[in-house]
């Protein structure tokens, strides 16, 4: 009865235990079970009492049976942790422990088993382990090591990666002083010393890019970070990371160096260089391009298109070119073009446009390179005009040579013919006639030589000194000199040249030119009317244009135009024509770098236009 009572009361007590507890007898059959078990295994249908432990928990480690048997002999040992899935499928971990169960007479009557839910502890352990593994991997991949400086014990610990970075053996034991000694003398060591002091003294964290010299003597760039850890308001430790960034820094330095080299190169090239994006907006310009467009800061040009910088026509041409280059992916190389700026200045460029391609081979923009060849062009133009002048002169010279040869030959032919006649002539009268002709031929030859001499003097004396001459008074003075001729032929000269016209000219040439036009006016007057000769001037660019207009015979320019200024070319039956006047005049005008033009209508008159420079 008592025993029964006692049993009931024991059973009642056990039921209320705060942990999941089992009492098993010597045969490992459950005698008591606390209610906590029900909640632990979430199954209140289980009737624990009377059942064998291993029948109830078939998943239990069989080794535990031995442990429990030991326990029943009086020695309790650690059992371990058992995992299982609860009804909702969650992984649960239980720690099983045991104790020998004695009765009041110290007899062993069974074992007491306690089961604790350690799931959360296990999970956090696993998380920690995972985190550790992850950290280790990360540390290896990124070459980031960790370290810790314990201020109280003055100890420094390095993780394997930190040691690897320092190139020290894994059993190396650093101290705060040796750790600092690894930093490169000078800036790096001073900076880290200061940072450690600031951190330990004032609690200021650091993150610095510095250089170390490793145990093997290699110089390395590292990133060192430190963070003071407070305990009870005092700085107890400094923890931090240590990262090898040598490769990044070196490649960064190299990239920076490359970029700098490229920039220096582009800026100092005597070429205008620019890069445009797909919309022809400038995204890079060099110094030359800035100077050309008259800005001091490249930013003033960036993001702008040619339409912002040039007149519409120029910009349109340029944009069309850009599009063509980007569409066809064919560069334009060494193309000559004229660029007109908004202020109207023209620049000749030798320019190239090369498409910029992305990795898919599509154009993302273009590089433009232009060489200012304005000076070159100008030189070329000068050279070309020089060649023109030279070839013209050469032509003239050949022409002159033919004329000389022709004229001399015709005289010599006459001489030889007449002399031949003379030798064979018997008739005295005829002989006299031939001698007369020989004299005439000789005179003709002299006259020809005089003419040729006149031309040669003119051609060789191209550097004759120019003077400023008042045109109106010059015409008047020539008029005075020729007053006899003018009066005889009733020539009416109208001098409309204004008083203030001065021209730079060789005075002797001007005399000859004016005289020639006045005598021509007389020679080629129209038989039906009194001759009129009008002089007036106009300003034509860099020239002063002298118009000389008559009402004379006029000339058929279609027939004779090309020969009008030729030597020994005469076009009217006139005894005074010797075909020299206009030839000399033209040469004199050209020797003074002027030019001469003519307009004429047969039977109405002729207008000569003399351009003086």
């Amino acid at each position: 009865m008592l025993k029964e009572k006692k049993t009931i009361s024991t059973s009642f007590l056990v039921k209320q235990l705060p942990t999941a507890t089992l009492f098993v007898d010597m045969k490992l059959n459950i005698v008591y079970a606390s209610d906590k078990l029900t909640s632990l295994f979430c199954d209140n249908r289980i009737n624990f009492v009377g059942q064998s432990l291993f029948t109830l928990f078939p998943q239990l480690n069989l080794k535990w049976k031995d442990v429990l048997i030991e326990c029943l002999k009086g020695t309790s040992n650690y059992m371990g942790i058992q995992g299982f899935k609860d009804l909702s499928g969650n992984e649960k971990f239980h720690e099983w422990s045991n104790a020998t169960w004695y009765d009041s007479e110290e007899n062993i009557i069974g074992a007491i088993i306690q089961i604790n839910d350690v799931s959360s502890a296990i999970e956090s352990d696993m998380a920690l382990e995972k985190a550790n593994i992850l950290l280790k991997q990360q540390s290896e991949l990124s070459k980031i090591g960790v370290w810790e400086y314990d201020l109280q014990n003055s100890t420094v610990s390095w993780c394997p990666m930190t040691k690897t970075i320092h190139e020290v053996p894994l059993d190396y034991e650093p101290t705060i002083d040796t750790a600092i000694q690894y930093y490169k003398e000078g800036h790096s060591r001073n900076t880290i010393s200061m940072a450690v002091f600031e951190a330990t003294d004032k609690g200021i964290p650091w993150s610095l890019k510095l250089q170390i010299i490793t145990a093997k003597g290699n110089e390395k760039w590292i990133m060192a970070a430190g963070k003071p850890i407070f305990e009870k308001g005092k700085i107890a430790r400094v923890m931090g990371t240590f990262q090898d960034i040598n490769e990044q820094v070196l490649s960064e330095t190299k990239t920076k160096g490359d970029a700098k080299l490229l920039k220096t190169l582009i800026d100092n090239l005597p070429l205008n260089v620019f890069i445009k994006d797909r919309d022809s907006k400038k995204i890079l310009v060099n110094k030359s391009e800035c100077e050309y467009l008259g800005v001091t800061d490249a930013n003033e040009l960036l993001d702008k298109t040619d339409f912002d910088l040039y007149p519409f026509e120029t910009a349109k041409l340029s944009r069309d070119e850009d599009l063509k280059v980007m569409e066809t992916l064919k560069p334009i190389l060494g193309q000559e073009s004229i660029s007109i700026k908004n202020d109207g200045t023209e620049t000749a460029f030798l320019s190239s446009k090369i498409p910029l391609l992305d990795e898919n081979g599509c154009a993302t923009g273009l590089v433009g390179i232009s060489l200012d060849i304005t000076n070159l062009k100008q030189k070329e133009q000068e050279l070309r005009s020089l060649i023109n002048v030279t070839s013209l002169q050469n032509k003239k010279l050949i022409n002159f040579a033919h004329i000389v040869s022709h004229n001399l030959r015709s005289h010599s032919a006459n001489f030889s013919m007449l002399l031949d006649f003379l030798v064979n002539e018997k008739n005295e009268k005829e002989k006299d006639k031939i001698v007369d002709m020989l004299t005439q031929a000789s005179n003709n030859l002299l006259k020809t030589l005089e003419n040729l001499n006149e031309v040669v003097t003119l051609s060789t004396n191209t550097q004759a000194k120019k003077e400023s001459v008042n045109l109106r008074s010059k015409i008047a003075s020539i008029q005075e000199n020729l007053s006899n001729l003018i009066a005889t032929n009733k020539l009416n000269i109208i001098n409309d040249v204004s008083k203030d016209i001065h021209i730079q000219i060789v005075p002797a040439y001007l005399d000859s030119i004016l005289m020639n036009f006045i005598t021509n006016g007389v020679k080629y007057k129209h038989p039906d009317r009194e001759p009129i000769l009008k002089f007036n001037t106009e300003k034509k660019g860099e020239y002063t244009l002298l118009n000389i207009e008559d009402n004379g015979l006029g000339i058929d320019l279609e027939k004779y135009g090309s020969k009008l200024f030729g030597m020994y070319k005469t076009f009217h039956t006139n005894k005074d024509s010797r075909g020299m006047g206009l030839y000399i005049t033209k040469n004199q005008v050209e020797a003074m770098r002027g030019k001469i033009e003519v307009e004429s209508k047969l039977g109405e008159g002729t207008k000569f236009k003399v351009f003086f420079k």
């Binding site: 033919h402 004229n407 030959r409 002709m437 005439q440 005469t570 076009f571 009217h572």
Partner: protein, 134 residues
């Protein structure tokens, strides 16, 4: 002596005209020898003769360098005139300009008239040759 009816001399140099006439005297028998100071005068005369159905020159001595109308300008118009007979045109010049030779080639191939190119001075033998008519 060869007999020729009508010879024209077109030259502005009186000495040359005299010389040609003198040489002709000793090589051929010619009824009419006319001379003209320039191409235009000669051309006008020929045109006039055509319209009036008068006899035309059988031989023409032609200078190149003349005022108003030179030898080439004369030929340009002459070869277009409606002349059925073959006229012998003897160019007589002191020019050695290659241009004049190419001009001669040009005209030679464009007319049924016979055109010869002769450099001054003309020797008697040459005169004999160029006064032959086909």
């Amino acid at each position: 002596m060869r007999k020729i009816n009508f010879i024209s001399i077109v030259d502005d140099d009186p000495i040359m005209v005299f010389g040609i006439k003198k040489m002709l005297n000793s090589t051929v028998e010619c009824k009419v020898v006319e001379s003209y100071n320039n191409g235009n005068l000669a051309l006008e005369n020929i045109k006039h003769s055509i319209t009036k159905n008068k006899p035309l020159p059988e031989i023409i001595f032609l200078d190149i360098n003349m005022p108003i109308m030179d030898g080439w300008q004369f030929l340009t118009e002459f070869i277009t005139l409606p002349i059925k007979t073959k006229v012998k045109v003897n160019i007589v010049t002191s020019s050695i300009d290659p241009y004049d030779l190419t001009q001669w080639e040009f005209f030679k191939n464009r007319t049924h008239h016979i055109i010869t190119f002769n450099n001054k001075p003309i020797k008697k033998q040459k005169m004999d040759d160029i006064t032959k008519i086909a």
